[in-house]
């Protein structure tokens, strides 16, 4: 059954919300009263319910199956956290109601910040960034502010080739120039290469660790040392923090700033692409520059600082990332997750995530090709398309064939440093039985590919709500909104 668009089934006079009739007071809108109503058809409640329920049923989700999307950490989303976030004391408070009426909200932010600092071994945290990329921006701004405070103008940022695209994009946003750091043959960053690139113009290095090949950078401490020695800062992309919580603290490795994707590591739901939250932990060198708003303690009590006027000596915020206080709804969920796990549960989660990735690796290493076999994988395992050579099947085909087997594909073609990358992150939420079935399915697919059953791949997916979609057509003449079908005109008829 194909589900139409709301614009095709709704009617202008219909509404699914009963509101009392206005009293007809004379409006005070001056000349700006709307001249024509917007063309937004309405649906009654039963129609809307069915429409969106049906739409949902064409989605894949964690709750319906394994979602091994590398670098995205698609772990279980506990419903307790949803329930906590909906407590009226959290969901129904206004960001600008008197501070005296929201002490519990400040507690949540302060507590969560405290957990993040302890888990990372860092000194301070900027809570307001709205997502990972926003956190990166925040961290890099703090670095820029620190450099300015030193009276310097460094504007080069070192970024390894394997980095997430957000890293160079972020650096560019604040006027920095990106200098690529080449990867070594084993998938790690070469400390010597970094040293060679360092200089008085270098502001920072942006490093993901574990890196996007799923490898913990063995020389990270040495890199940090070199970076610091050159007067630059060490920005860590925290997207892969789920591999190491409770095992090693970024602060101990010399990190100056790292964003944390609460929607990855701490399980706030991805929601089909957000909302997320990207708090940034900061070293003592960057802490003074944390943006507004923040919470500091006065006599042990959390006090909210919203403007420069509220700052204490030594606090020199570089500005503000967003209105209000950040993603409170994600904070409550993440805090509930942390309180549930505790320090022991969080470490166990990371260990299980790493264990699961290596277990999948062990189950597939003989059939698929590991570009970097010399290092253990962390929470995700990277394969390349070497094993598909001469089959005529691409990474994309292989991924689409997984859909027909009931799985969401892994991350494809990322990182860019290997050919036809396939990045698998099972997370700690999968049972051994689930991993075994996944491995068996992938083995079957690989053997099928090698046997030359090409159509199973090139024609996939066949059992999904849609066959392959024409992305080129979508991009060539973008149709980004519904348009009323044009009425049939006499002129057209004449043609």
């Amino acid at each position: 059954v194909e589900e139409p668009l709301i614009f095709e089934i709704g009617r202008a006079e219909t509404t699914g919300v009963d509101l009392p009739a206005p009293d007809g007071l004379a409006p005070r809108l001056g000349r700006l009263a709307r001249k024509a109503a917007p063309d937004l058809p309405g649906l009654t409640e039963p129609e809307a319910m069915r429409h969106y329920v049906r739409l949902s049923r064409s989605n894949y989700s964690i709750d319906t199956g394994l979602y091994p999307l590398g670098s995205c950490t698609m772990k279980h989303n506990p419903r307790l956290n949803e329930k906590m976030a909906r407590l009226p004391g959290f969901a129904d408070v206004h960001p600008l109601q008197p501070v005296s009426t929201v002490p519990g909200a400040l507690d949540v932010i302060a507590d969560l910040g405290g957990w993040l600092c302890r888990l990372t071994g860092m000194d301070a945290v900027a809570m307001s960034p709205k997502a990972g990329a926003h956190g990166e921006l925040c961290g890099m701004m703090a670095i820029k502010a620190a450099i300015r405070a030193r009276g310097e103008t460094r504007n080069v940022v070192l970024v390894p080739e394997s980095a997430h695209g957000t890293n160079p994009a972020t650096a560019a946003l604040i006027g920095m120039t990106v200098r690529d750091v080449p990867a070594r043959a084993d998938g790690t960053v070469d400390v010597e290469a970094v040293k060679a690139l360092l200089g008085p113009d270098v502001a920072a290095i942006m490093l993901t660790n574990p890196n996007t090949c799923g490898i913990f950078e063995p020389e990270v401490a040495a890199i940090a040392e070199a970076v610091h020695a050159a007067g630059a800062y060490f920005y860590a992309d925290g997207a892969n923090f789920n591999a190491i919580v409770g095992k090693v603290r970024p602060g101990d490795l010399g990190v100056d700033a790292m964003h944390i994707n609460l929607h990855k590591t701490f399980s706030t739901p991805h929601g089909g692409g957000g909302p997320g939250a990207g708090p940034v932990v900061l070293s003592s060198r960057l802490a003074p520059f944390a943006p507004l708003p923040f919470i500091h303690l006065e006599e042990g009590r959390p006090v909210l600082v919203e403007t420069e006027a509220g700052t204490a000596p030594g606090e020199t915020p570089f500005g503000r990332m967003t209105a209000f206080h950040g993603q409170m709804g994600m904070f409550t969920r993440a805090l509930a997750y942390m309180l549930s796990h505790g320090t022991d549960g969080l470490r166990q989660a990371s260990e299980d995530a790493v264990l699961a990735a290596n277990y999948v690796r062990a189950g597939l290493a003989d059939l698929m090709t590991l570009p970097f076999p010399d290092h253990p994988s962390m929470h995700e395992v990277l394969f390349d398309d070497g094993f598909l050579k001469e089959t005529g099947i691409t990474t994309l085909d292989f991924a689409k064939a997984m859909i027909d087997e009931g799985y969401h594909p892994m991350t494809m073609y990322f990182p860019l440093v290997v050919h036809g990358a396939m990045l698998i992150e099972p997370t700690e939420s999968e049972s051994k039985a689930s991993l075994d079935l996944f491995v068996a399915t992938l083995r079957d697919l690989v053997l099928s590919a090698k046997r030359g059953e090409t159509e199973r791949f090139t024609q996939a997916p066949r059992f999904a709500p849609r066959r392959r979609l024409d992305e080129t057509r979508a991009a060539r003449s973008p149709k980004l909104r519904w348009e009323k079908p044009k009425p049939w005109t006499a002129a057209e008829a004449a043609e």
């Binding site: 699914g16 007071l25 709750d63 129904d92 002490p103 957000t166 409770g246 066959r467």
Partner: protein, 446 residues
């Protein structure tokens, strides 16, 4: 632990299969002196009951908007959201899905994004909209950057009616990007002459209507002047419900429209997550940041939807991207689009009218309190009052009486000589009793 399916037996078997003696063998790349041997000093795992108690205790310390006469706005608004909305966004298939990178199995997400884009474009009177930004303030910041790219200039002129925190976001972003911002002084009376500030260096003019202080701004002359100077008009709103009654910025000549969508479908939530709306003209499309969902067909020629024009985005373009945005506000879009679908034009207009009438009644009630002056002639559902003495203290005394009476402007604009102003919002949730209680309490505390 209830979230961890692996048992001790499983772990042992898996380690054996991998061929390592213990879990720490997999952490061999971590420098030995950095690998933690002890647990980090934080509390241990807890059951649901204990977590609920801890969180419940924190929540109980806050005063929910629904529990009192409530008149705080200034960028976030207390509206009633139908129960259906929250039910639907909690569907597993929406809640626990990722960004729809595999369109064949995420048509649910993609189709609602397409519906969302259409609704936002229609509401704002623009040609195209994206699939959301983080919130209104960051959308405004991105709009300024977009205008810089389009005009190849780098000076933004910012109205004194823009929400002070939105202004701060623009200033921060511009400061860090080495761009320029000319911010006009706060404009509580709605009388600033922004036309005078626009010149040939200007890339964009950023104007909020209804303004932070509640004034309705006629954008047409500003657009005219901006366009004459080769600049773009960025129109901002914080209360999307206003578009049910007010002429949309797109029909007043705006080039980029950004705003906060929280009012529709989304809870107050102490400020987030919200949903930033962004719409523009077709011709500026390729400089628009954020995700876009487009219509196409599948291999069997059935209609379907995909993320498109991703050549603008960071994961393809890296340092040449239009923005670094990746995760956006997917689920908040869904809440928005469901609520908007339930409203339809008819419901939206009625909702807007109820809000406007609530504000009219409130303005009249507060205006009758001796010593209190309403600064606005026109407004939508928000306006500014001048009180004798310190507004922040008045708000605090009102709160002690169980009334959340608005925002003292000085909280966001300290040291600007605006210490006697309160921004007050009214919505459909306010009752006659609420308004009477406010007026009475205000008379008592000033």
């Amino acid at each position: 632990m209830r979230y961890h399916p692996l048992t001790a037996t499983d772990r042992a078997e898996m380690l054996a299969r991998i061929g390592v003696p213990g879990i720490d063998a997999l952490f061999a790349d971590v420098p030995a002196d950095k690998l933690l041997t002890d647990l980090i000093d934080l509390p241990r795992m807890r059951g649901e009951l204990e977590v609920e108690r801890l969180m419940g205790r924190m929540a109980a310390k806050n005063v929910p908007a629904s529990s009192v006469p409530f008149f705080v706005g200034a960028g976030a608004y207390k509206h009633h959201v139908p129960a259906t909305v929250d039910h639907l966004i909690q569907r597993s298939e929406f809640l626990t899905s990722y960004t729809p990178y595999q369109p064949e199995i995420t048509q649910g997400t993609l189709q609602y994004l397409f519906e969302f884009q259409t609704q936002v474009a229609e509401l704002t009177g623009m040609e195209v909209a994206n699939a959301s930004m983080y919130d209104g303030s960051t959308a405004t910041g991105e709009a300024v950057l977009m205008a810089h790219r389009l005009t190849r200039r780098n000076k933004a002129v910012v109205s004194g009616g823009l929400h002070p925190q939105y202004r701060a976001v623009v200033e921060t972003l511009s400061d860090m990007a080495e761009d320029r911002v000319q911010a006009l002084p706060p404009d509580p009376l709605g009388t600033e002459d922004i036309l005078a500030a626009i010149d040939r260096d200007t890339s964009c003019v950023v104007v909020q209507s209804p303004s932070f202080y509640g004034h309705l701004i006629d954008l047409a002359p500003i657009a005219e002047k901006a366009h004459a100077c080769g600049a773009l008009l960025i129109a901002v709103f914080t209360e999307v419900v206003s578009l049910g009654l007010i002429e949309p910025p797109g029909r007043q000549g705006a080039d980029i429209v950004v705003g906060e969508g929280q009012s529709i479908g989304n809870a107050l939530g102490f400020g987030g997550p919200y949903v930033g709306l962004m719409a523009t003209r077709q011709k500026f499309l390729r400089q628009m940041p954020g995700r876009l969902c487009g219509e196409t067909v599948d291999a069997e020629n059935r209609r379907g939807f995909v993320l498109t024009l991703s050549t603008r985005e960071q994961h393809i373009r890296r340092d040449k991207a239009t923005s670094n945005i990746c995760t956006n506000s997917g689920l908040c879009c869904l809440a928005f689009t469901i609520h908007m679908t339930l409203l339809g034009s008819a419901g939206l207009e009625r909702l807007a009218r109820l809000n406007h009438e609530a504000a009219i009644r409130l303005a009249d009630a507060l205006g009758r309190v001796p010593g209190v002056e309403v600064l606005n002639d026109g407004f939508f559902n928000e306006f500014t009052v001048r009180v004798p003495g310190n507004a922040a203290a008045v708000i605090e005394r009102l709160a002690e009486r169980g009334i959340l009476g608005g925002l003292a402007v000085s909280r966001l604009e300290p040291g600007r000589g605006l210490d006697d102003l309160i921004v007050v919002a009214a919505t459909e949730v306010n009752t006659d009793e609420d308004r009477a209680a406010y007026a009475q309490a205000l008379a008592a505390v000033i």
